[in-house]
């Protein structure tokens, strides 16, 4: 009986201590168990999403003009951080109209059927060089697991909080079916495509 009462008292004391601790140690009104993430959206004018591919043995470059980004990020709360990128594939620009038309055609990006490519990552981890977002990349209707390394830094510009996110990842176009028929051959158009991004993100004001 005595032992039972003691157990109850101890448990109650522990509970009280646990619930009191955050409030007493971090005595700020906004204090929470984990840091709040900041919501960022893309500043399209100052951001780029490029791809580099091999054509006829030479490196060629292109970019996407429209690719909305939604990033929830806090360096001290990666568990709640997440990244969503939607790429309007039809906004591709390889610097040559004929080539762009070919890229949009059914055997390559098939934009009529798959106008959107997506990257969705709910798992962001710290690495030696920065961060890595592990998520699902969907291109031409095919979804694959992809890890995207990136760096992130925040800045204050004219009173506004901004984030700079940079990174580069190599993907294989044929993993996503970008290249049907003749385009499955990789001797003239390489399988590896280096996708790089330099994003300027605006923090949402609360």
């Amino acid at each position: 009986m005595l032992r039972a009462s003691l157990t109850v008292i101890c448990a109650a004391a522990l509970l009280a201590a646990a619930s009191l601790t955050p409030a007493t140690v971090f005595a700020t009104p906004a204090a929470a168990p984990a840091a709040a993430v900041t919501h960022y959206t893309l500043d399209p004018a100052k951001s780029s999403l490029e791809f580099v591919f091999t054509q006829a043995g030479a490196l060629n470059k292109g970019h996407f003009a429209r690719f909305p980004v939604s990033l929830d990020f806090a360096a001290d709360n990666l568990a709640a951080s997440r990244l969503e990128v939607g790429v309007e594939v039809t906004s591709l620009d390889s610097g040559d109209k004929d080539r762009d038309d070919t890229l949009r055609s059914a055997d390559l990006f098939a934009v009529a059927k798959f106008p959107q490519a997506n990257f969705s990552a709910a798992q962001i981890v710290k690495t030696a060089a920065g961060y890595e977002a592990a998520g699902k990349l969907t291109i031409r209707g095919v979804t694959r697991d992809v890890r995207v390394p990136f760096t992130f830094r925040t800045a204050s510009e004219q009173g506004a909080a901004v984030g700079y996110m940079n990174g580069k990842v190599t993907i294989r176009r044929l993993d996503f079916g970008v290249g049907q028929g003749d385009w499955k051959a990789t001797d003239q158009v390489g399988n590896d495509v280096v996708v790089s991004f330099a994003l300027r993100l605006s923090a949402a004001t609360h």
């Binding site: 006829a56 030479a58 490196l59 060629n60 040559d96 004929d98 003749d182 051959a185 001797d187």
Partner: protein, 187 residues
């Protein structure tokens, strides 16, 4: 057959360069004609990639040829030529040399202006000679085509003259660019 030229005969190096370039030009015309009739696609891309690589090869061989020419005797033109024929022969030979450089260079610049960098068979990516520009591309495309027709005309004169020497005049002008010795040759 001697490696070097003599005053009467082309040596092995000159002959090799001459006939290799002949073969490559035939390949070039074939590739260009085939690619011209194709819609944009992998097949066209492949043919044009080869065309560019062979073009760069011809440019390199043309440089070697010019260097070798400077380091060697040039066989003399036949004594039987009239002054205007002598002038015409020199003019045609000079034009061929100029075109051996102008053709690949205009093609290379055309690719650069189009924004499609040139690679030599996928081994080396060559630098862009001119900035990317649509009007520039059009200008080099027109130039490349005009030079191709000019080359065709000059080659016809060159071949016709060689055949005239061989079949009508029956001298050694053509034979001295061939590996087997001529019948009138003193060696």
């Amino acid at each position: 057959m001697a490696i070097r030229n003599t005053p009467r005969r082309w040596g092995a190096v000159s002959q090799f360069l001459h006939w290799t370039i002949v073969v490559l030009i035939i390949v070039q015309v074939t590739l260009a004609a085939l690619a011209d009739n194709l819609p944009n696609g992998m097949h066209k891309l492949t043919l044009l990639a080869r065309h560019k690589s062979f073009g760069i090869t011809i440019l390199a061989l043309a440089i070697l040829r010019l260097l070798w020419r400077r380091l060697n005797d040039t066989p003399e033109l036949p004594d039987t030529l009239k002054p205007y024929e002598r002038f015409l022969a020199r003019f045609v030979h000079s034009a061929l040399y100029v075109l051996l450089f102008a053709m690949p260079l205009s093609g290379w610049m055309m690719s650069s202006a189009r924004g499609f960098p040139v690679s030599w068979f996928g081994f080396i990516q060559l630098p862009d000679l001119v900035p990317k520009s649509k009007p520039l591309y059009q200008a080099f495309l027109t130039t490349h085509e005009a030079l191709a027709w000019t080359l065709g005309a000059v080659v016809i004169l060159h071949v016709a003259a060689a055949l005239k020497h061989h079949l009508v005049l029956k001298d050694d002008t053509l034979r001295r660019m061939l590996p087997f010795p001529g019948k009138n040759e003193r060696t």
